[in-house]
């Protein structure tokens, strides 16, 4: 419970209009984009919306003094419950902190506040010829604070890496309100532990990130898109595999299985041949169109040798956009196929991709539960979508078994539980199997050192 006295203190810090405490308003901060049920609602007791680091610090001093749980929140577009205030307390909404503080063109770095949307950061840099590559599917609405806290990935990871490859330095408000700065603009930096990388991906459990300095690269001059249709899923996977081994690194290589593809076809009213078992969408980039043509030619040759049914090379930006629209609409199209979709996010060594896809199909058959598979084939990150109706008798048990087996497969082939969504609430119970008991103990020790009262995003990760 947060007393009226504490509420007034919080109001004094951020202003009356930036504190929400009615029943209906608080409910809006109780969910994210995960499959965690809306009810019983995980309402915060209060929503606090600071504008500056100083306000965040003062809010944390109050929270720490009264041992109030604090869960940071950006756009609540996460998929694992990271921003859900599962123990009530305070939802610390950082979406008002939207300043791009500095654009350092010479060092090719940008410093932003957590509420800046990924797309706005991208556009801001692109206008000046610089490139911020991480592109989680949610990039049009997710915020940078969430991207860094969850270490978001995206489709370009195969060539350009994920969020943590771009985070150079952070300003973090600690649980007790102290403010520290980690890292910085120096490219070589071995001064002390690498706290920047520790806070990146810490899911709001170690501190509140209030500023981030991000590295940029030069914008690729030319891009194009290819769509490959395969009558065999194995051949599709093998094509990506062979491509990478031949030294052709695409900017993105996305794979969709038949079930995913037909879902999009229905959604977008397209007609896709039932004989097609897998579709691969590839983005290539380079210096000029000649470089692109060369890559496209090499990819086509490999695909032909692996029995591709159809190769489509976008003739212009519009066609490229049409092809990408299929991939972008995928998650929602698949989600619409069943009352409940459990979207998972396993990540495996690249060469295990075809094997894992095959084994997931087998799990699907064994339990009689449809599982659509799509993902970032170029980097080994897959999104198996378990499609179910939890209202059916026995369904929940079957689903849980199937999910357990998917995770077991991922770990068996040397992969892990999450590539880009984080652990949050939904994958907590599996973490020991991935990290080992001792591994989890180390996480807990770090947490205890930084947040002795355990107020920051409690009941997450493990």
């Amino acid at each position: 419970m947060i007393t009226e006295a504490i509420k007034s203190k919080l109001r004094a810090v951020v202003g009356d209009e930036n504190v929400l405490d009615t029943n209906l308003d608080r409910f809006g901060y109780s969910y994210d984009s995960s499959f965690i049920p809306l009810l019983p609602a995980n309402n915060p007791d209060i929503v606090v919306r600071p504008l500056t680091t100083d306000e965040v610090s003062k809010v944390m001093v109050i929270a720490n003094a009264h041992a109030i749980p604090v869960t940071a929140r950006g756009a609540a577009s996460g998929r694992t419950g990271g921003s859900i205030p599962v123990r009530g307390g305070m939802s610390l909404a950082l979406d008002r902190m939207t300043r791009i503080i500095e654009f350092d063109e010479r060092n090719m770095m940008v410093t932003v506040e957590p509420g800046v949307r990924t797309i706005d950061l991208y556009n801001h840099c692109a206008a000046k010829g610089l490139f911020y590559p991480p592109d989680p599917a949610s990039w049009k609405f997710s915020t940078m604070g969430g991207n860094v806290a969850e270490n978001a990935g995206g489709m370009r990871a195969v060539k350009y890496g994920v969020t943590n490859n771009y985070v150079m330095g952070l300003e973090v408000v600690l649980a007790d309100g102290r403010v520290i700065n980690t890292g910085g603009k120096a490219i070589k930096n071995v001064t002390g532990y690498n706290l920047t990388q520790l806070f990146t991906g810490s899911e709001g459990t170690l501190g509140i990130i209030t500023k981030m300095t991000l590295r940029l690269i030069s914008m690729p001059k030319a891009r194009n898109t290819l769509q490959l249709m395969f009558p065999s899923l194995d051949d599709a996977c093998a094509t990506i595999h062979a491509m990478l081994q031949a030294g052709i690194v695409p900017a993105a290589a996305e794979l969709m299985d038949k079930m995913s593809l037909q879902a999009v076809a229905r959604h977008r009213k397209l007609d896709i041949d039932q004989a097609i078992e897998a579709c691969v969408v590839i983005e290539i980039d380079g210096e000029d169109t000649a470089a692109l043509d060369k890559q496209a030619e090499a990819i086509e040759k490999i695909a032909r040798s692996l029995r591709v049914a159809e190769v489509r090379i976008a003739a212009d930006a519009k066609e490229a956009e049409d092809i990408w629209a299929i991939r972008r609409g995928l998650s929602s199209a698949v989600g619409a196929m069943a009352p409940t979709r459990l979207g998972e996010d396993i990540s495996v060594p690249r060469d295990a991709f075809p094997e894992v896809v095959r084994r997931i199909k087998k799990i699907s058959e064994t339990h009689g539960i449809p599982i659509a598979v799509y993902g970032h084939a170029g980097d080994g990150n897959l999104h198996p979508s378990v499609l179910c109706d939890l209202a059916k008798p026995g369904e929940e048990e079957r689903v849980h078994k199937a999910v357990d087996e998917i995770f077991a497969v991922a770990l068996e082939v040397g992969g892990t539980l999450s590539g880009e969504h984080g652990i949050g609430m939904t994958k907590r119970k599996y973490i020991a199997s991935a990290l080992g008991e001792d591994g989890v103990e180390v996480l807990k020790a770090i947490k205890l050192a930084l947040d002795p009262k355990g107020i920051l995003n409690p009941d997450k990760v493990w």
Binding site: L20, N23, L24, G28, Y31, L38, A75, A76, R328, A336
Partner: protein
Amino acid sequence: MDKDKDLLQQVKEIVSQCDRCGTCLPVCPLFGVKDIEASSARGKNNLARAMVEGGFAPDAKMLEKMNFCLLCRTCIDNCPSKVKTDEATIALRQYIADRTGGPGVKYRALGGMLKKTGLVKLSAGALGVTKKLGLGGLVPFGMAPSTLGREQYLARFAGPAALAGPSPASPAAVGADTKVAYFHGCGMRMMFPDAVAETLTILGTVTAVRQVDNVCCGLPHLAHGMRDDFLALAKENIRLFADADVIVSDCASCAGTLKHIGAYLADDPEWRDAAKAFSAKIMSLSEYLVKAGYRPRQRAGAKLTFHEPCHLGRGQGIKKEPRQLLKEAGDYVEMPGADTCCGGAGSFHIDYPEAAAAVLDKKQANIEKSGADIVVSECPVCLVQLNKAAEKSGGRFKVMHISQVL
């Protein structure tokens, strides 16, 4: 009771499609001026879902949350799952109104007034009534001086073509014996009679337009928990227009609503077929004019821009037609965010004046950025809002209905 169940089922089916991804947040005009979760489509859809699942009571507080929506459909346009937030919101308003003893005094008064054709027709009388009811904001008293009549427009912006006099009547592409009727919208009738006269003049150059003593399209009733009234009005209009082949409305909201009557009566065996046929006959003014091959009477030297009413563009998919006509009627320039809601949204601008004004401020900035002399639209509520913006801009632009410049 069954009706209640149907409404809840309808709401449930829609809102359970929401994946809570958050796509709708940055595109929602209301979230843009009041950025808390409950303003957004995701916020409302999930409040609705929690209510349907028993987490919240269907009470006045919930209704207030549902009323805070422009029904502009921008969220639906952007939603990857195309969740019909507007339909869910409308159905939930109805459900709560049924449970809490009606839509509230104000909406009931407005609905009651609009049901009575006589009151609407006697526009002076209607203005008096609305003023007494405290609905003055709906009707722009004192707005007239800032609007621009067609004669003044021609005098000011007469281009070479205008000097040559009106162009001859266009041969209608919609067959010569097509029976075309005009639908008198309440808003147009009460607030913009000059524009109605121009609409009738234009239609008269294409066809022998029939005038029908129609009743309200029912949107205000549908949107605010008076579904029975909406359905009664719909049936009356179906009956009144039985003879017409095409029914033209110069109000985007009327046309949009009338086009949906078929869907709302799809489960009524007695009315289903007639309703479907009726909806298929409806055309918005610019849609009809383009189909009929109408050419503007003059090309003026005015810089024109178009504010696309939500119920025209997203509501009916009519986007190209008004622009095509305006390109022939003057020096057309597209403004940024032309299809963003102006904040009018029926009676929203009366209920939430501050939010509506904040939404309108952005629209005003975009109109000014375009450098247009005239902002043209095809919806009376938009015209009311835009007139407020014109006044605030200190006369940097004027506002006209599309019929006045064609």
